[in-house]
């Protein structure tokens, strides 16, 4: 063994804390015949089964309008897992997994349907010994939430444990969490009428990504970063969520949402809060979420007069991406011919805190951009004095940038200046990439695997709390209201395959900066 390998072996912990096993439970999926269930949930649950991470006593009851039997649900599930699972189907594991799948066809608003569901759940509980623990997953459009919540309340399953009954009841809610502050509050009130906030798991799948979780580890497990993670050393931060795809078959949904509601309010504000938060006192749901919500409360809402200069919106026209000609947004199915929905949003935000005062946070997201890329780039200030002005043009020397890449090619990159080997003195930037995938030769679990397991364990650290959602909407509402009052932009204003409209470049150029070249 080399000395290096020996050192490495010595650093491997010999007694890691054992992973807490999730409680036995029945998971009820509303919307069990839908896209989300078949693309994400069932493959994630199957992979958990493959890793033997599901509770020993566990069952899934699907509920949807489609008139399937248990057997037909199992067949559909098998097909979905074969198509979407990150690992191939193992016949032995599948056989055991399929035995835990049940299905109830029904209407979301029919009490009789819910009675049948309750009867099946009771039967399954008896069969599997799930100890009265219920995990509900609302994989349905938000308009269906009230129907389901009302029926759950009436069924008597929820609140049973609070009245001394056995087991727990938790609910997982998919985004969108409202379409503005008002509707988000109403939704929270509706859910909290039946479920206590501690039992509500608002899922933002971004938070389940390994690299997003790694932001916390990277920031708070490495002593060298905290001293420079503030306004004294950081010039600005850029957060980008770029997609090369268009709206595809989601045209009618997207018409009602747009980039700000679809991406910024949830995913990007979550990334912002993780990168800007203060160190929590402990790594648990309450402490981490307390710090995140403080950041969101500290984001300075944009006054109406400032929205024009601090934000930019765009909509893509036809163009070329990856060698393919693609239609404009207005030519997509389900989209109005004169749609004013934004497919691109950019903004400059400030966080009014001691740590971040006067440090701009630039956010941009869009569809049909040249490439898919999600990242957080921390741009540090220039060295205060450069010695090399006699040898090189120091005006072109770039400052250090630390980039956390969320997807694809998850990892961390540090950009620094280095001397070109040989003489005379020449300086050029170099990127040192830490490649997450190539460093740990194991496939990371999918975001849904992580989050479903956490919900079963009762760990809400990676889920969004009601006050976080409302704080994020407070920031977005200012922009949405101002946009509604401004003259409509001249859409489409960027070509598919471009990095957004010129206004986005002007926004950041006005501060003497530019967007990162991705």
């Amino acid at each position: 063994m080399s000395a290096r390998a020996a050192t490495r072996a010595m650093t491997v912990p010999t007694a890691a804390a054992p992973e807490r096993a999730p409680d036995p439970c029945v998971m009820v999926i509303f919307g069990a015949s839908g896209d989300l269930t078949h693309r994400m949930l069932l493959p994630a649950l199957y992979n958990l089964a493959l890793d033997r991470r599901l509770p020993a006593r566990f069952a899934i009851v699907g509920f949807a309008r489609t008139g399937w039997t248990d057997e037909e649900f199992r067949e559909a599930a098998k097909a979905s897992i074969q198509e979407f699972s990150r690992r191939p189907l193992d016949p032995d594991v599948w056989e055991s997994f399929a035995g835990s799948l049940f299905y109830v066809p029904g209407e979301y608003h029919h009490p009789q349907s819910h009675e049948r569901l309750a009867a099946v759940m009771d039967k399954v509980q008896e069969l599997q010994g799930t100890a009265g623990n219920h995990l509900y997953y609302l994989a349905v459009p938000p308009s269906t939430f009230p129907l389901i919540i009302d029926q759950l309340s009436a069924s008597g399953h929820i609140g049973r444990h609070e009245q001394g009954g056995a087991g727990w009841c938790r609910v997982i809610v998919e985004k969108p969490f409202g379409e503005d502050l008002q509707s988000a509050r109403e939704l929270n009130q509706l859910i909290n009428k039946v479920f206590s906030e501690d039992d509500v798991y608002r899922i933002d799948h971004y938070l389940g990504k390994e690299t997003v979780q790694n932001i916390l580890v990277f920031r708070f497990a490495n002593g060298i970063l905290e001293p420079v993670w503030n306004r004294r050393y950081v010039d600005h931060i850029q957060i980008t969520v770029a997609e090369s795809i268009g709206v595809g078959g989601r045209g009618s949904y997207y018409e009602e949402t747009g980039a700000l509601r679809d991406m910024v309010q949830n995913h990007m504000m979550q990334l912002l809060s993780l990168v800007a938060m203060e160190p929590p006192i402990a790594f648990n749901g309450r402490s981490v979420r307390n710090e995140k919500v403080k950041v969101l409360h500290a984001v300075r809402p944009l006054p109406a007069g400032e929205v024009r200069v601090a934000t930019a919106r765009g909509q893509y026209g036809p163009g070329w991406i990856s060698g393919e000609e693609v239609p404009g947004y207005r030519q997509e199915p389900g989209v109005k011919g004169k749609s004013r929905t934004e497919t691109f949003a950019a903004m400059r935000l400030f966080i009014d805190s001691w740590r971040w005062a006067d440090v701009p946070f630039y956010l941009r997201t869009g569809k049909r951009l040249p490439k898919r890329s999600t990242e957080i780039a921390v741009h540090f200030k220039r060295a205060p004095h450069l010695l090399f002005s006699d040898f090189v043009d120091i005006s072109g020397l770039e400052p250090n940038v630390l980039t956390i890449r969320i997807q694809p090619n998850e990892g961390i990159t540090l950009k620094f200046l280095t001397k070109v080997p040989g003489s005379p003195l020449r300086i050029r930037p170099a990127n040192m990439d830490f490649l997450y995938g190539a460093s740990f030769l194991v496939q990371a679990p999918s975001a849904y695997e992580t989050l479903l397991l956490d919900a079963m364990r009762g760990d809400a650290t990676l889920f969004t709390r009601a006050d976080e959602v409302e704080a994020a909407w407070t920031v977005m509402d200012c922009i949405l209201n101002a946009w509604a009052s401004l003259p409509p932009p001249d859409f489409p204003n960027y070509e598919a395959g471009a990095w957004g409209p010129p206004a986005a470049d002007e926004l950041i150029a006005a501060d003497g900066r530019e967007w990162r070249r991705l």
Partner: protein, 385 residues
Amino acid sequence: MAEAVTDTDETTLTWSGRAVDTAQIEAELAKLRFQAAGEPAGGEGFAIRTSLLNMVVYAEDPESARQASRTIGVLAGHHPSRALIVVARPAAGRSRIDAQLAAHCHVSAGLEQQVCCEEVTLHISGPAAHHLHSIIIPLLVPDLPVYVWWTGRLPRERHMFEQLIETADKIIVDSANFTGRGGLQRLAELCPDLTGCPLGDLNWERLAPWRQILVQRCEMSPAGWRPESLAAVEIGYARGANRRAPGQALLLLGWLSARLGWDAAALPRKGLAPSRLIVSAGHQRVSISVTPEGYGATEPGGLVSVKLLWHAGPGPQSIKISRLADPLHLSVAREERGRVLEDHVLAQPLGQSEMLMKQLDGDPLDPEYSQALQNALPLLAALST
């Protein structure tokens, strides 16, 4: 399916696919990195990768692409990078991308850590070839300089070249490959603001020893360049069978013009041979001749000799630099006070990878080259008429 070829200190992992898209290429590159981390040449994976630049190479045909690949392979140790070699066939009917990927990993002597370079060769057919930037941008390593090396002749259509200029921090050409005298002119048209255009030329690197000798011999002499009494410049270049332009001669003339303050607009050349012209330098006139010569191993269009002649006065009457049969040296003959002193100067020709390396190491903007090119254009126009 990826394949690995392992040497004692080098691993090359490869993958190829037909009718692929950029997402698939990116995914396969990630797999190669993953695989390289598991199959290192020297015991350590390249979980940490250092990258300095993106190199985009435009090749006219598969053979040029292979040649470019060999050149880039030599650079790998000095310039860890991602290279995209593009062969475009716009005339094909249907858009299609075929890709070959290679991760070359070298273990530096005395180090356990690998240095890896990724090479992507793209054969792009059909209408997609008119939108190269839409394929190239998704494959670039973010936030690193982009160097575009345009091998071969300049395109007749500006569109393709302009698209690549938009993505590039520096465009590198080799004007030795231009046919006809219009090549340099077209290059200038593609880059209208020459002084602000980050343009590099491998042919300029070939001229480096000639320029250095002239600077040394003239500036070390107490009499210096004596621009006010320069009478003539005679340049001989190797005649080529395929109408290679005298690119080196023109660039050298442009450089001399900028250095000696010639009026870039040539004087009327009534009665002069096609290879001659007269330029004004203050109150003086300088006679210039650019003549083709047959000369052994010199590459077509390459310089064979350069002679500067002065009117009588202090300092030399002439300096002549000539190629020798020995390709490693140049002859420098200095005539002064009726005596000719000749010596041989080491001027080892640079290989393509060395010239490219110099271009990559230099600043993107090379004002000396831009000025030389700008000043060469009116001289070129005068010689062409």
